[in-house]
Symmetry: C2
Subunit: 388 residues, 2 copies
């Protein structure tokens, strides 16, 4: 196990009707002039936008709003938010939505204390410093951004998707009410689950030895998600199954599961190029990239992939046939993704072969990627080919 | 799953040589006049006392000290610490030790802002309010007090062992260096592991339905501890195995594993009477009480005990023989405790039958105990009888 620091101070408020506490929560954290940041019509259609707006106003807060966050959130809207926060002296941001809204809110929070262009943080030209405090009301379990220090944003000029990190970006609180997931469309449910699993797998595949506890915590989280997504697809209003997925989605990415171990994140980096280029759902992109990545890298540490197959996918262990076990594990994972409506090949998402080199080059803009196996541009092109 | 709040802001600094960061850590949290609180000779013999004292002084802090904390920490020493903190204007407490030292430090921290007698908190006569900030350097993985809000203390006048809880008692940071465990005596290692397992089991045995994720996280933590304690008993300097146990000990009790579920804590309450009366190690008492408690209550929710036997103790599942499976699980647990040198019967700890009623009465001082099954005085006497 490696030395590590772990710090996750986000207060979780979990359960039915918890969004109605939002006014008191914001006030408890010193908010007064609040920006309500959200996406599109779904929050309004489901009624949660009205509930939250009412709760904020009933608490005597001055509320500003900025909607219109799109999946793969754009830096242009963040710039707009930064201007608004500076002009209006906003002191707290409430992010109502999923990872895109939260990541957009984080960009605004960091940009509001910065004189330059907020994109600088994402291009590593400036470190994230002071930021406005953020509270989250989560409506899509997926990105894990509700307790993480990271923000992933797309710059539409040039199809760049980049992240920035900063302890000041960790939300002060996150309201998780599984009821808010009942209205999610099937595809978004599955893409979210794919993202959650990917967050665990990026941590699970490591060359660090002696990480028994976090291995097992990872496996526990993956098994829970795999089992419960079937239940919510059968019945969208299965509160308890949603509760499992929602809490798992947070734990998958609050970095508990990554403590003391080298992590990978190669597949995420590759996927970011894919969704920046083709604007597909991040989770769908991950369901395509991960199996291909696995097939390309498993020989680096075959025992870890055997453990994954046996403990997560219940492949029967047989000491003499490790490779067979690994491939059966990957097959079962692909079968699982297909069973929840995710593509597992580029062709299934309508993506051709013409931009492999271009995406690989962008992925390696800052050098080779991945921790489990360092990937060069050529490696990434190979992974895209396997994913065809 | 039940609605819940989860908040655990303790910063974890984990790994080799991390105790040398103590001066910088205390300063980062605003400390200036520091009380170093510790136990007996073991911290001095191992050298960690000198390292910590040096690191604190080199950072320019003014250091006061109060040693002498005993297992099952006494309120009399806490009173002494409170007086010292008030007299000297101490603004930060460093607890160097295991659960007893940390719990004692928490008592001092709470008492330093209170005009009455600190025992009031433990008798629920006053709620815990403001408290001095605490930082921990952990030397015994067991109690989980390094990130918890609770403190358990013994009042030697009358053999009372009671707890108090308060968000202000959560340590600001916890330094976890597995190297500091190398010098622990065998018995203390095993008693610590028994305590860790008990913290998980108090949460695991619940009647709350649909708690898949936390069930699996509990099982992951228990399996890790069970596996790794064998390794540290074989080789006291097995850093990696200690790292697993140490991190598991914290996770077992930071309440992540108890989120969204009713918890039990009956066995802990019973054990507190046992160790208050006979001054045996808390972990040893738990190894005695838990099997007896299980045998007394398993019929309340046999499926949960089947799951425990199958998933934690690898008992072969057989749908037609649940009771057999449960009892085999308990037998394997007893076998495990015996294999690490823990008593599993009162007689093995030299405890007779003469005070069952008296301890049961004290355990029920505030009413019936336990969440999985409410236990009356008579129930507790029965459990003691099974434990003979």
């Amino acid at each position: 196990m490696l030395n590590f620091e772990y710090y996750n101070p986000t207060k979780i408020i979990f359960g039915k009707e918890t969004q109605n506490q939002i006014g008191d929560l914001v006030k408890a954290y010193g908010g007064n002039r609040v920006l309500l940041h959200y996406g599109g019509s779904s929050a309004k259609k489901s009624g949660v936008y009205d509930q939250v707006m009412r709760a904020l106003k009933e608490s005597g807060l001055t509320v500003f709003e900025l909607g219109g966050v799109k999946p793969n959130p754009r830096v242009s809207l963040i710039r707009e938010g930064v201007t608004l926060c500076k002009q209006e002296g906003i002191d707290f941001i409430v992010a109502l939505g999923g990872g895109s809204v939260i990541d957009s809110a984080k960009g605004i929070a960091a940009g509001s204390y910065y004189d330059g262009d907020v994109w600088d943080f994402y291009m590593k030209k400036a470190p994230v410093g002071q930021a406005l405090p953020i509270g989250v009301i989560l409506t899509i379990p997926a990105a894990g951004s509700e307790t993480s220090a990271g923000s992933v944003v797309t710059n539409e000029e040039g199809h760049y998707k980049r992240d920035c990190q900063g302890e000041t970006l960790i939300p002060k609180f996150a309201v998780l009410n599984p009821q808010l997931c009942f209205t999610l469309p099937d595809y978004q449910v599955s893409a979210g689950v794919s993202d959650i699993l990917a967050h665990v797998m990026e941590r699970y595949f490591t060359n660090t030895e002696h990480v028994d506890l976090t291995d097992r915590l990872c496996e526990a989280t993956m098994r829970t998600v795999i089992q419960n997504v079937r239940l919510v697809r059968e019945n969208k209003e299965n509160y308890d199954a949603w509760a499992e997925i929602m809490w798992a989605g947070t734990i998958a990415h609050n970095n508990l599961l990554g403590t003391g171990r080298e992590q990978d994140w190669g597949s995420h980096n590759i996927e970011h190029e894919l969704s920046a280029e083709y604007d597909i759902a991040h989770g769908a992109g991950l369901a395509i990239i991960f199996p291909a990545w696995m097939k390309y890298v498993y020989r680096e540490n075959i025992h870890r992939f055997v453990q994954f197959a046996v403990r997560v996918w219940d492949v029967d262990f047989a000491c003499e046939r490790p490779e067979e076990i690994v491939l059966e594990g990957i097959r079962r994972m692909e079968g699982f993704f297909r069973s929840i409506g995710m593509p597992v090949r580029l062709s299934e998402a309508g993506i051709g072969e013409d931009r492999f080199e271009q995406m690989a080059e962008k992925a390696c803009m800052f050098g080779s990627i991945g921790g489990f196996k360092k990937l060069s541009e050529q490696d990434i092109v190979e992974i895209f080919r396997i994913a065809r």
